[in-house]
Amino acid sequence: MSATADDLTAQAGPQERFEYVLRLADTSLIAGQRLAALLGHAPALEEDLALGNIALDLIGQARLLLALAGRIEARGRDEDALAFLRDAQEFRNVSLVEQPNGDFAQTIVRQCLLDAWQLEMYESLAGSRDLQLADIAQKAVKECRYHWRFSAGWLVRLGDGTDESRARVRSALDTLWRFTDELLTPDVLDARMAVCGIGPAPVLIRERWQTRVRATLAEGGLEWPRHQHYRWHGKRGEHTEHLGHLLAEMQALPRAYPGVTW
């Protein structure tokens, strides 16, 4: 962490910490939910297994983080209460991950942009002053390193594959690039967490993410996409239309039969 001696006196309140952990938790959960839907429909049997592994890692991260969020909140909500009984506006995932699977190019681009971000986030969070969060990050960072290896490998293959794959991956980059600003631009909470030594310095994440993604795009012969100015705010609960549908499906059973055990 890059907190200075002065900053160390700053203390994050439970509400801020809850919100911040939810951002990480919901991002993993929604990304995992999207990938898991592809199981049985991937381009090759081996890819079914690969996507399944990534989905399992993401759901696993979400469970640990939601449980932590529940403990911080201290209102008796466990991982399932948080996953299944919140409305879309209460979800704090970045908008990128709720975007539909689309074709394999879109899935890979979405995953790649996310993996680069999660990898840098968890690398830094592994040294967080919040020791419970640091613990989860130390586990997650290994997973994310592999996710990145997988998705970056595919981004390069698709970029440098056939005319069709190049066209598809370009189009996916154009579609999804507008959601990257949200990953990289800090809001008040991101800045607060950095000051408190809980979260990483946003500028660091931005630089490392850009270096990583730039190198991979270059290896695949792909250009850095055009910047798009509209700012998305999934991490403060303002989502795209897709999240509502995703949740309607994901939450159907616990909503229809409240209070029972599954």
Partner: protein, 331 residues
């Protein structure tokens, strides 16, 4: 060592099936020796194995679909993770089995092409719909339970690569049936609505599960020869009876009723005696006219078609960068 080396299996086809050779082959099997890919084998043995292993592999792959149908709706995160892991295992098992089939000189591409063209068989059970969450429990408990009955004896089958694949599969599958039963138990001990859900699932999956073992011995075409070759070790009816005997007490434990009014314990044979099975339904489903035959094959075809450009792109990339190795030196 596998497919490529075996592309022309019938190198000495003219003289290969002579009686003496067949006799020596059968003697090896009778001594419980394993047959390995490059060993001489009768063409009929090879074909029977390819048919059986491919059918089994296709079943795993198509079997991902009915359960996959509930991944996005699993009612807790733990259940979701378990279901993903299970469906993923089925994909893995399909892979192990296609691998075993490929050692017999047929490629996975050929086998999948047969499946997509509607010319290959797979287990009839996966042509039934998963209509409620309890169906995920029922599939784990009944369908995986039935599959295990079939598969454990195959760990000792005469063909080495198939036997080894089955060992791996059985080891991995051991959690599948337990998680299914756990779902059923949770529902059976839950609310009235959950209990009704569980009962309805048992009602719909019981008979199709019994049919999974295939036609009765009297009508089974391949049984005798397959048993002689030890690529099948018990008859359909034996396995079906064993399944009924272990499953009925489990249903009683759950407090659910098996949808067979004629089912009773026969003290003389020490077995549960089921009522008559409606074989015409099995024939209908096998003919491709079951409730979900169309959807299942369409889903496989759609994934295959949608994935073509991806597979082509990866192959083209590899072509351009041939010789570019990314691993460490082997040591």
């Amino acid at each position: 060592m596998y497919t490529q080396a075996l592309d022309s299996p019938a190198e000495s086809a003219g003289t290969s099936d002579e009686p003496e050779r067949l006799e020596r082959f059968q003697a090896r099997i009778d001594r419980d020796e394993k047959i390995e890919p490059k060993d001489w084998m009768p063409e009929a043995y090879r074909q029977a194995l390819i048919r059986q292993i491919a059918q089994h592999a296709h079943s795993e792959i198509v079997g991902m679909l009915p359960e996959g149908n509930w991944i996005t709706r699993a009612p807790s995160l733990r259940r979701k993770a378990v279901l993903i892991a299970k469906v993923q295992d089925e994909g893995g098992h399909g892979m192990y089995l296609y691998s075993a089939a490929e050692t017999l000189g047929v490629s996975r591409g050929q086998l999948i092409a047969q499946l997509l063209a509607g010319r290959a068989k797979y287990s009839s059970i996966f042509n039934y719909p998963t209509l409620s969450w309890a169906d995920i429990g029922a599939i784990g408990w009944l369908v995986d339970g039935a599959a295990i009955m079939n598969q454990i004896p195959l760990c000792r089958c005469s063909y080495g690569p198939y036997a080894r694949a089955m060992v791996r599969i059985c080891k991995e599958e051991s959690f599948h049936q337990r998680q299914g039963f756990e779902i059923m138990l949770t529902l059976a001990r839950g609310s009235d609505a959950q209990r009704a859900m569980a009962q309805d699932a048992l009602r719909r999956w019981w008979w199709p599960s019994l049919m999974m073992f295939g036609p009765s011995d009297a009508h089974s075409v391949h049984t005798a020869q397959s048993m002689r070759w030890k690529i099948k070790r018990f008859s359909n009816d034996e396995l079906r009876q064993r399944f009924i005997d272990v499953t009925v007490p489990q249903a009683e434990f759950l407090g659910l009723s098996v949808p067979d009014p004629a089912l009773h314990w026969d003290e003389a044979t020490r077995h549960y005696q089921p009522g008559p099975i409606d074989w015409s339904e099995l024939q209908t489903v096998l003919k491709g006219e079951g409730p979900c035959n169309h959807e299942r094959l369409e889903a496989r075809r759609a994934a295959h078609e949608a994935g073509r450009w991806v597979r082509e792109a990866a192959a083209a990339y590899a072509q351009k960068h041939r010789g570019l190795e990314h691993g460490a030196d082997a040591s």
